[in-house]
Structure formats: structure tokens, C-alpha cells
């Protein structure tokens, strides 16, 4: 059985047949999941809006404050529904994550965010105005009455303030000025903000008061969302961590700032992960245990070993160089769609920028023999070409070709990149690297007419 560190000290790069000595690849994504989820979310949204409309009447609208109260109800319903969607987007439901990928889900979460936040803010303002008009008092006085005397409104107000604060702090300009761990801890309080706001909807919403069935359905929706988070965001990662009990066995220095971390675990043959995927890794060492960081695996797991390769850029990744063997590791994942499953054409070209080689290296292992891959490794200096011997050997076994583009950006242009690739149109284009690298290569490829369906990328947030 091949192991990562052999007695002769030679690193074995000839991967045996995947089926017998490595773990299973990740399950294939099911495209119909996306369509089903989209339709379900749409139906739920329409139904929620209709709940608000059917609870209204003409006499109510004509009365003082009626219009403001109606709009306040509608914005509250719509905003809360979208807030639940926000939670679901990042609850890492496996069937959805396999189709969209964690990075696209997080991106959708960020792009959707302004909507529930502004709808709920509008809800607060409109209902305060509406109630004030109905009671013929000033808005500020009415706000005090609402918060002070209405059932469940004090907790809802605290939840609202917390939600707005979290939203504010998540604006990119502000987020970038705060330490990532502090921002993250504060962001997780959104669960609390939502929990605090649940009761006032049932107690006060016209769609819910005296409508036990609607209350039940709304409660079921919240329960399902909470269940999703508990099961997939927390439960599944904890179960996998406990099952595999990964710990550090070796920290190998690949170059001045790059290390490979070899982990050992049990029952890794049961860990279904494809080359090109990543985990969120939590190293249980002092000063590191409260942070989880995403890194791609740099080789398909060979039970009982698992490897990741990391470039030291910030405090955390630099600290990884000094990881003590025996350090336990908690995992979340595997995540990512930068895998063989994404292929829609017969052949592939894999383009790695700098440390992007890690995803390319593990993805390469999953490509079948004789698949003639073209691999391009881009690095700003020779030191940056980590894992290149492994990549070369793996590519050679697949009857493919490796091109190394080394040199500073001023001297090496990416414009002619695709000239290196014969029959580009018959290939899937896999690109891994920093955001700017990926964007530049995608631009070159698109200009040459490569279809979007053939482009797959893994952006390394450095």
C-alpha cells in the first residue's frame, strides 16, 4: 500500500487505481436539485406575499394609517422570508452545495443581503408610521408604545437592532477594516437576531392572529430552516470530524512560503471527496482553534493519509508552518465544484496561478488515463512552482503536456495563453488562482470564444 512518506524517503507520485486504495470521489451533482429548489423558493415567496394580501381589506386600507400598515406588513413578510432564504443559502445543504458550490452560495448570500435588510427596515418604519396615524399620535411616541406595550416587541426590537448592526458591519468597506475572526463571530449573532424576532410575527401579524394553520406553517418553515443549519452546518461537520479523527503527522516545507500538511485519519476510505475540492480546516491548537480556513486538498486522499498544501500569506497560514505533529484537526466539507463532475467536454486544460496548483494537482489525479490534459503552471518565480514534479508525472501518465510560465507579470503575458492549448474548443477550462488571475484568464478564454459552460474556476481568496 502506498504511503505518503516511504522508507526510502521518495515521495510516490504514481497513484494506484483510485478505486482500491483511495477514498471515494464526491457524489455527482444532480442538476434537477437546482431547479426544484428554485421553484420551491419561488412558490414559498409568492405564498408569503399572498398571506399578507389576503389578510387585508378595503375598509382597513381606507382607514387612518391603513396603507402604511399594509405596506409595513408586506415588507415584514417579504423581508423575513428572504432572511430565511439567506440562512438556507449558507446552511451547506449537501445536495445544493454539490450543484452550486460553496463559493457561489456565499456569493448569492452576499448579493441577496441588501433585500431582506432593507425590507425589514422599511417594515419597521412603515408600521410605526401606520400605527401612529391610526392612533393619531406622533411616530416617536407610537414607537415607544409599540416597543413598550405590544407583546414580544421588546425582543423583536433588540433583534432588529442586532440585525441592522450586523448588516452594517458586513458592508465591504467596513468589513475589511475589522479582523476577520471578530467580524465572523459578530456575524454569527444573526441567528440570535432572527430567533429574537420570531415571536412578534405570530403574535401581531394580521396574517397570523386567529389563523392557527398559518401559524403552524410559518413555524414549520422556521423549524426547517433551523434544522437545516443544525444538521448541515453543525451536525454533519462534527460527525465527520469525529468519525475520521484527523491529526497532523507531518509538515513539509515545499518552498520558502509554502508548506504541505499531511494528516492521518481513520476510515478515510469512507470520506467521499473529489480532486479539486476543499475543506474548511480548523486546527485545534492554541490560538488557532477558533478559526476555520478553506484550503484545497493537494492530493486525492490515500487512506489513511490526507494532504493539503498552503501558502503562508496572513497570520494564520504562516502559523501553519509551525504546526506540531499530533495536532487534531476538525473539518467542514468537502465543498467545491472544481471537480471532474463539472466536465462537459471530452478533454481538459488546467491552468494554475501560483498556489492555485493545489486544486489543479488533486483534480489532475481524478482525470482518467489517456485523457491528454494540458496543464499550465504560472508562477512569478521558480520558487513558486510548488508540486511541479508531481504535476508533471501525473500529466505524463495521462499522455498530456505541462507548460510552466515563470517570470514576473511584466514579462509574462497571459494573452497568448491559449496558443499553448491545441483544440481549445474541445476542452473544459479549469482555472485556479487568485481572483485577479482567474479574471484575466477567463477574459482571455472568453475572447477566444470559450463557452461559459466550459469554464470552471476556483478563486483563492488570499
Amino acid at each position: 500500500m502506498a504511503t505518503v512518506a516511504t522508507r526510502t524517503g521518495r515521495r510516490p507520485v504514481r497513484p494506484p487505481d483510485r478505486k482500491t486504495t483511495t477514498s471515494r470521489p464526491a457524489p455527482a451533482p444532480r442538476p434537477w436539485v437546482l431547479r426544484t429548489v428554485t421553484v420551491a423558493l419561488g412558490v414559498g415567496f409568492g405564498a408569503t406575499l399572498a398571506l399578507g394580501v389576503t389578510a387585508e381589506s378595503w375598509s382597513q386600507l381606507h382607514a387612518a394609517g391603513g396603507v402604511a400598515m399594509f405596506l409595513g406588513s408586506m415588507t415584514g413578510l417579504a423581508g423575513t422570508y428572504l432572511a430565511l432564504v439567506m440562512v438556507l443559502l449558507v446552511s451547506r445543504v449537501p445536495v445544493v452545495e454539490r450543484v452550486l458550490g460553496q463559493d457561489r452560495l456565499v456569493q448569492a448570500h452576499r448579493r441577496l443581503a441588501p433585500w431582506p435588510l432593507s425590507l425589514i427596515a422599511a417594515h419597521v418604519v412603515l408600521l410605526t408610521i401606520g400605527y401612529a396615524q391610526a392612533a393619531h399620535t406622533g411616530a416617536w411616541h407610537e414607537a415607544g408604545v409599540l416597543v413598550g406595550t405590544f407583546p414580544d416587541m421588546l425582543t423583536a426590537t433588540i433583534g432588529f437592532a442586532l440585525m441592522m448592526a450586523i448588516g452594517l458591519v458586513s458592508i465591504r468597506a467596513i468589513r475589511q477594516r475589522i479582523r476577520r475572526e471578530r467580524w465572523w463571530a459578530f456575524h454569527l449573532c444573526m441567528y440570535l437576531a432572527l430567533a429574537l424576532s420570531f415571536a412578534h410575527v405570530i403574535a401581531l401579524g394580521p396574517s397570523f392572529v386567529n389563523h392557527p394553520l398559518t401559524q403552524l406553517l410559518w413555524g414549520a418553515l422556521w423549524l426547517a430552516t433551523a434544522g437545516s443549519v443544525l444538521a448541515y452546518r453543525i451536525g454533519l461537520p462534527v460527525a465527520r470530524t469525529l468519525r475520521h479523527r484527523l491529526h497532523v503527522v507531518e509538515v513539509r516545507h515545499e518552498s520558502a512560503d509554502v508548506v504541505s500538511i499531511v494528516l492521518k485519519g481513520r476510515r478515510l476510505d469512507r470520506l467521499s471527496v473529489s480532486g479539486g475540492q476543499f475543506f474548511e480546516w480548523r486546527f485545534l491548537a492554541p490560538g488557532m482553534w477558533w478559526q476555520a480556513h478553506p484550503f484545497s486538498i493537494s492530493a486525492v486522499p490515500r487512506p489513511p493519509y490526507l494532504r493539503l498544501t498552503v501558502r503562508g500569506i496572513g497570520d494564520f497560514s504562516s502559523a501553519l508552518r509551525h504546526l506540531a505533529p499530533g495536532t487534531k484537526v476538525a473539518i467542514e466539507g468537502p465543498y467545491g465544484t472544481f471537480t471532474r463532475h463539472a466536465q462537459s467536454r471530452t478533454k481538459a486544460v488546467l491552468i494554475a496561478g501560483g498556489i492555485g496548483v493545489t486544486a489543479v494537482r488533486s483534480l489532475l489525479e481524478d482525470l482518467p488515463r489517456n485523457s491528454d490534459p494540458v496543464v499550465v503552471l504560472r508562477a512569478s518565480d521558480a520558487d513558486g512552482l510548488v508540486l511541479s514534479e508531481e504535476v508533471t508525472e501525473l500529466t505524463r501518465q495521462r499522455k498530456g503536456r505541462v507548460h510552466e510560465l515563470v517570470g514576473p507579470r511584466s514579462m509574462v503575458s497571459l494573452d497568448g495563453l491559449m496558443d499553448l492549448v491545441p483544440d481549445l474548443m474541445q476542452r473544459d477550462v479549469f482555472i485556479a488562482g487568485s481572483a485577479s488571475f482567474v479574471h484575466r484568464v477567463v477574459a482571455v478564454a472568453s475572447r477566444l470564444g470559450v463557452a461559459d459552460s466550459a469554464l470552471h474556476f476556483e478563486v483563492y481568496e488570499l
Binding site: R35, G42, A50, W58, S59, Q60
Partner: protein, 142 residues
């Protein structure tokens, strides 16, 4: 994008489904519309004019409390509506009820039926009041 179309279509479908369900279930718990829905006026068997009779309506439990009214009818005219039971969940509902009930009483006496405007911010109080009143009127007619 294809997904946008699917989202829009499914939202419309969900919206329509709830509207259909709501219409099918009947406006049983909806606000009484001014053009009259389930309520009827005091028509039917007329007692001899000049007789004053009264009846207490059903106890209506609404989200915020319990309300029942007593109606006094002279001949075919509603001459008075008063509160028989009023228990509210909390103080705000109490104050709403106290503000709203006199207004409702005036409107009922003016309209001589339960077909009156709802009062914004007191939807459920209004509804309970009118339902209790209607049951009292039905009892008187029977």
C-alpha cells in the same frame, strides 16, 4: 437567465394558490367589509313594535381578548349596544377596546346593522364586537 423566469413563474403560482385557497375557504375570519358579507340586518320575523327586548351575544375570543355585547332592540330598531364581557390580554388591547367600542356603538346605531366600517388598528376588536352583536340579533329574531 432561465432561473429568473422559473422564480417569477413559481412566485406567481404560489401567490395564486394562496389567493385561491383563501377565496375557497370563504371570508370566515376576514374583516367584515362595508358592503356587507356574512352579516345581515334585523329583517325577518318582526316582533310587535314598541316591545323592548335585549339579548347578549356570543362570547367572541379574538387574538387579544374576549368580548361579548348586549343589544337592546325596540321593535325593529337597535336602540342600544353595550359591552357585556370584556377581558383583554394586555393593557394595550384594553385601551384599544375602550377607544373603539364607543365608536362602534355609534356606527351600529347609525347603520342599524352590523354593516359598518372596520376601525384601523382594531381589526380584531371590531370583528369580535360585530360577530357578537350579530349573534345577539340572530337570537332576538329566532
Amino acid at each position: 437567465m432561465r432561473h429568473r423566469a422559473a422564480l417569477a413563474a413559481s412566485t406567481a403560482a404560489g401567490f395564486a394558490a394562496i389567493l385561491a385557497l383563501h377565496a375557497g375557504a370563504g371570508p370566515s375570519t376576514a374583516v367584515v367589509a362595508p358592503t356587507g358579507s356574512t352579516s345581515t340586518t334585523t329583517q325577518g320575523a318582526q316582533p310587535p313594535s314598541g316591545t323592548t327586548r335585549s339579548a347578549v351575544g356570543s362570547s367572541e375570543q379574538y387574538g387579544y381578548g374576549v368580548l361579548s355585547v348586549k343589544v337592546t332592540v325596540r321593535g325593529s330598531r337597535i336602540t342600544d349596544v353595550s359591552v357585556s364581557t370584556l377581558q383583554t390580554a394586555e393593557s394595550y388591547s384594553q385601551s384599544i377596546a375602550q377607544q373603539v367600542i364607543p365608536i362602534l356603538r355609534n356606527e351600529v346605531l347609525a347603520a342599524q346593522s352590523t354593516a359598518v366600517n372596520g376601525i384601523s388598528g382594531a381589526t380584531y376588536t371590531t370583528q369580535a364586537y360585530l360577530q357578537s352583536l350579530q349573534s345577539a340579533l340572530d337570537a332576538l329574531r329566532a
